[in-house]
C-alpha cells in the first residue's frame, strides 16, 4: 500500500547551484503525493525531530559550505544515528564535503573542521577547477545501466579508504584524480560529487532509489519515455572511448 513520502530539501536558498535542486522537483513529479520540506538555513531541520524518508542537500558555494557546516554540526549525532538506522540521504556535488572532517582552501585562507560524519577531507583549489565525465555501475540500477554524470569542481576529496564509494568509475575519476572510487556510500547514505540533474539523467538509478524509499509502491518515472531516450543517447556516447579525454582517467589506472 502506497504511503506518502517525506523529502527534506536542506538549505535551498544557498544550496541551489548547477540545477541540482531539479532532482527534488523530479522526485516530486515521480511521486506527486510526496511532501517536500524545504528547510531554510536558520530553520531546525525536520530530520532532527520527525521521520524523513530522504534528506537532500545540493551544490553550494565555498562560503555556503561553511554556513552549512555551522548549521549541521549541532545535528551530527542525529545524522549518524539516522544513517545507521537506514534513512536515505542524497548529497550531490560538494555537499558531501560538509560532512567530512576538514575542508582546506588555501586561496580563500581557511582550514576548517567539517561536521565529521565521514572520515574524508577536501582540498579546494580555486584556480584548479576540474571538469570531467563519470560512468560507473551502482547496485540500484544494475550493470547494464551505469550511472552517467558530470563533474565540475574546485575540490578533491581524500581519505575515507574504508568507506565504500557511491560507485567505482569505469570511466572518469573518483574522489580525486588518483582513484576511481567516487563519492561515499554508507547504508542508504549516498554522497556524490556528480552535479546537476543526477536523478533526471539516470532514470534506472532513480527507479531503484524510489523503490528503496517506498518498497510497497511500484516506482513510476515522470516522463519516462523521454528520460530513457535521453539516458540511452548519453550512455551510447559515454561508451564511445573517443569521447574521453586522457585527463578524465585516474592516474593510477
Amino acid at each position: 500500500m502506497s504511503r506518502a513520502l517525506t523529502i527534506e530539501l536542506l538549505f535551498p536558498e544557498i544550496a541551489n547551484l548547477h540545477g541540482d535542486n531539479a532532482n527534488v522537483d523530479y522526485l516530486l513529479q515521480c511521486r506527486p503525493d510526496a511532501r517536500v520540506v524545504r528547510t531554510g538555513l536558520t530553520d531546525t531541520p525536520a530530520f532532527s525531530s520527525e521521520p524523513v524518508d530522504l534528506v537532500y542537500l545540493g551544490a553550494m558555494t565555498e562560503n555556503s559550505q561553511l554556513k552549512a557546516i555551522d548549521h549541521l554540526r549541532p545535528h551530527r549525532d542525529r545524522i549518524e544515528a539516522l544513517i545507521e538506522a537506514g534513512t536515505s540521504f542524497l548529497f550531490t556535488h560538494n555537499a558531501v564535503e560538509v560532512l567530512g572532517t576538514r575542508i582546506r582552501n588555501d586561496e580563500m585562507k581557511y582550514d576548517v573542521a567539517g561536521v565529521g560524519v565521514f572520515d574524508i577531507e577536501s582540498t579546494v583549489a580555486m584556480f584548479g577547477r576540474y571538469n570531467g565525465k563519470v560512468m560507473g555501475t551502482v547496485p540500484e540500477a544494475g550493470a547494464d545501466n551505469p550511472v552517467v554524470g558530470y563533474k565540475s569542481q574546485f575540490s578533491m576529496v581524500t581519505g575515507g579508504d574504508s568507506i565504500a564509494g557511491f560507485l567505482t568509475a569505469d570511466r572518469g575519476i573518483g574522489r580525486n584524480t588518483t582513484t576511481a572510487v567516487e563519492g561515499v556510500r554508507r547504508n542508504n547514505f549516498i554522497g556524490t560529487s556528480l552535479l546537476g540533474p543526477l536523478l533526471i539523467a539516470n532514470p534506472h538509478f532513480t527507479r531503484g532509489l524510489l523503490a528503496r524509499l517506498d518498497p510497497d509502491t511500484e516506482p513510476v518515472l515522470a516522463h519516462e519515455k523521454l528520460a530513457l531516450a535521453a539516458y540511452d543517447a548519453r550512455l551510447q556516447d559515454f561508451r564511445d572511448a573517443r569521447r574521453w579525454h586522457p585527463f578524465e582517467q585516474p592516474t593510477s589506472h
Binding site: 536558498e13 548547477h18 540545477g19 565525465k133 558530470y150 552535479l195 533526471i200 515522470a222 528520460a227 535521453a230
Partner: protein, 459 residues
C-alpha cells in the same frame, strides 16, 4: 630598459600583424606579457583609467563611455575592437603609450573579462571600476557569481573607486572598506514581482545574520532590492537611479546624486536601462557637467540586440540568440518568447554537444535555465533539434510543456522543415552562439522561405 624593450618588440609585432591585414589587438599584448609578466603595471597609464566589468553589459557600457568621453574632446583608448582578457588589455595599454613609453591619450576605458581580474587589476589599478552585475555564467569556467566576486575583490587595489549595481547584492558587495563606492539602480518596474522564481537565484540569505531575505522587488536571477526582516540589513542606497521609464515616449527620469533630470531612453530593455544609468553615474563621477551627460544620452545610438524580428505576411519571424551553456541567458530568451502575445511556434537548437569534442560536455546548465517560460498554451509547438534533443525535450516536459507539443529531430537545420507553421502569429528561431551560422542562419532562411510561400498562397 626592460619595459622599453617590451614596448618596442610588442609594437613592432603589432605593426607586422597589421601589415598582414589583421587587427593585432591581442598578440602584441601576449608577446609583451611573455617578455615582461608585470607589463600591465609597468607601463605608464593615461591620467584616467576606467575599468568596466560584469557578466552582462560591460561591452555596451564600455563603448558608450568611450563615445561619451570622446564627445567631450578627450583622447580615449579602449579595447572596443580587441579582447577583454589580459593580453587584450595589455595591447590597449601599449597603444596608449608612445615608442618612448609616454602616455599619449587622456583616458583608458578598459572592458575587463571578470574572470581575468586577477591578471589585470593589480597592475592596471584603475581609478574607477564599474561592475554591471555578476550572474551565473558557464558552470565549467565561472562556477558561480560568488567565485567571480571573490576573484575581483581579491585583485582590487584599495584606492579604486567603485561604481556598483545596488540591485545586485553580489556585485554591490565588491571590494573592501577602503574602496570608495557609489551605487546605481533601476527603481521598481511594473514587470517586477515581490518574490523570486526560477532556478538561478544566488541571493537568498542575509549576509549579516543568515536569515531568509525579503524582496522589496524582484526582477530576475538575484537582481532586485532586498531587506532582512530579522536584522534590518538592506540593499545599498543608490545615488544614481532610473525611474519613470516611458518606453512609448522614449524617456526616462534619472536621479543624479540629488538632482533629477529627464533623459532620452536609449532602449527599454531593462538591461539597457541599467547600462544607461551606469554610464550617467560614471560620467557624473568624472565630473562631466550634467547638461553634457544628458546631451550625450540624447545622441547615443541603441546598442545592437540579440534579437531580430522580420514580418513576413502576417507572421513575425523572430531570431533570438540563446546562449547555450549559460542557463540564465537562456531564461532571458525564453522570457522574451513568452512576452509575445500571439500563437507561437518555436525552433530550439541550443544544443552544446559540440563541446564534447573540444572540451568536456556538461549539460547541467539546462536545469539552471527556466524552460517554464515556454510552458504556455500560446506556444503550439516546439521543435527541438540536435544530438541532445531528448534532454531538452525532457526538460520542457518537466517544466510543464505538454509532451504532445514537443517534436524532436536529430538534424538541427531540418527542425525548420518540421515545425508546423499552421496559423501561428509568431515563429521563433532560438539558436546558440557556436551554431549561429551553421544552424541559426540556415534555419532562418528555411523558415523565411516557408513563410514567404505561405504568404503568397494566402494572398
Amino acid at each position: 630598459m626592460r619595459v622599453l624593450l617590451t614596448i618596442w618588440v610588442a609594437k613592432l609585432a603589432g605593426l607586422a600583424i597589421r601589415a598582414l591585414g589583421r587587427a593585432g589587438t591581442h598578440t602584441p599584448g601576449l608577446i609583451a606579457r611573455r617578455l615582461h609578466p608585470g607589463i600591465i603595471g609597468a607601463l605608464r597609464h593615461p591620467s584616467r583609467v576606467i575599468a568596466v566589468t560584469g557578466t552582462n553589459g560591460k561591452t555596451t557600457v564600455s563603448n558608450l563611455l568611450t563615445d561619451a568621453l570622446e564627445a567631450q574632446g578627450l583622447k580615449v583608448t579602449s579595447n572596443r575592437n580587441g579582447s577583454n582578457i589580459a593580453a587584450g588589455v595589455t595591447s590597449l595599454l601599449l597603444d596608449a603609450v608612445s615608442w618612448t613609453g609616454k602616455p599619449r591619450t587622456d583616458v583608458a576605458v578598459v572592458e575587463m573579462d571578470e574572470r581575468s581580474a586577477r591578471l589585470i587589476l593589480p597592475g592596471l589599478a584603475p581609478d574607477l571600476l564599474v561592475c554591471m552585475n555578476l550572474t551565473r555564467d558557464s558552470i565549467k569556467r565561472n562556477a558561480h557569481p560568488d567565485y567571480i566576486a571573490w576573484i575581483i575583490s581579491s585583485a582590487l587595489p584599495a584606492s579604486t573607486r567603485l561604481v556598483l549595481n545596488a540591485d545586485d547584492l553580489i556585485a554591490s558587495s565588491l571590494g573592501a572598506d577602503t574602496n570608495p563606492r557609489t551605487f546605481f539602480a533601476v527603481d521598481r518596474l511594473p514587470s517586477d514581482s515581490d518574490r523570486p522564481t526560477g532556478a538561478a537565484v544566488d541571493v537568498g540569505i542575509c549576509p549579516v545574520c543568515d536569515h531568509t531575505l525579503d524582496w522589496d522587488y524582484w526582477r530576475y536571477n538575484h537582481i532586485g532590492r532586498v531587506h532582512c526582516p530579522s536584522c534590518g540589513f538592506r540593499s545599498p542606497e543608490a545615488a544614481y537611479r532610473a525611474h519613470n521609464v516611458d518606453a512609448a515616449a522614449g524617456r526616462v527620469t534619472l536621479e543624479l546624486d540629488g538632482e533629477t533630470r529627464e533623459a532620452h531612453l536609449i532602449n527599454a530593455n531593462v538591461v539597457n536601462i541599467y547600462n544607461e544609468i551606469a554610464v550617467a553615474a560614471v560620467l557624473d563621477q568624472l565630473n562631466v557637467p550634467r547638461d553634457r551627460i544628458i546631451d550625450v544620452l540624447d545622441h547615443i545610438q541603441p546598442p545592437t540586440t540579440r534579437s531580430a524580428v522580420e514580418t513576413i505576411g502576417d507572421v513575425k519571424l523572430v531570431r533570438l540568440l540563446t546562449k547555450g551553456l549559460v542557463g540564465v541567458a537562456c531564461s532571458r530568451s525564453f522570457e522574451h518568447v513568452a512576452s509575445f502575445l500571439g500563437r507561437k511556434a518555436v525552433v530550439l537548437t541550443v544544443d552544446e554537444v559540440s563541446e564534447r569534442v573540444t572540451d568536456v560536455e556538461n549539460t547541467a546548465w539546462i536545469y539552471d535555465a527556466d524552460y517554464e517560460y515556454l510552458a504556455d498554451e500560446s506556444i503550439e509547438q516546439i521543435v527541438v533539434g540536435g544530438v541532445r534533443r531528448h534532454d531538452h525535450a525532457l526538460r520542457l516536459a518537466i517544466a510543464g510543456v505538454d509532451p504532445e507539443r514537443i517534436v524532436t529531430i536529430e538534424s538541427e537545420t531540418a527542425a525548420a522543415d518540421r515545425i508546423d507553421l499552421g496559423d501561428v502569429d509568431d515563429v521563433f528561431n532560438l539558436h546558440s552562439v557556436h551554431n549561429a551560422v551553421s544552424t541559426g542562419t540556415v534555419v532562418q532562411e528555411r523558415l523565411r522561405a516557408r513563410l514567404e510561400d505561405r504568404a503568397r498562397v494566402v494572398s
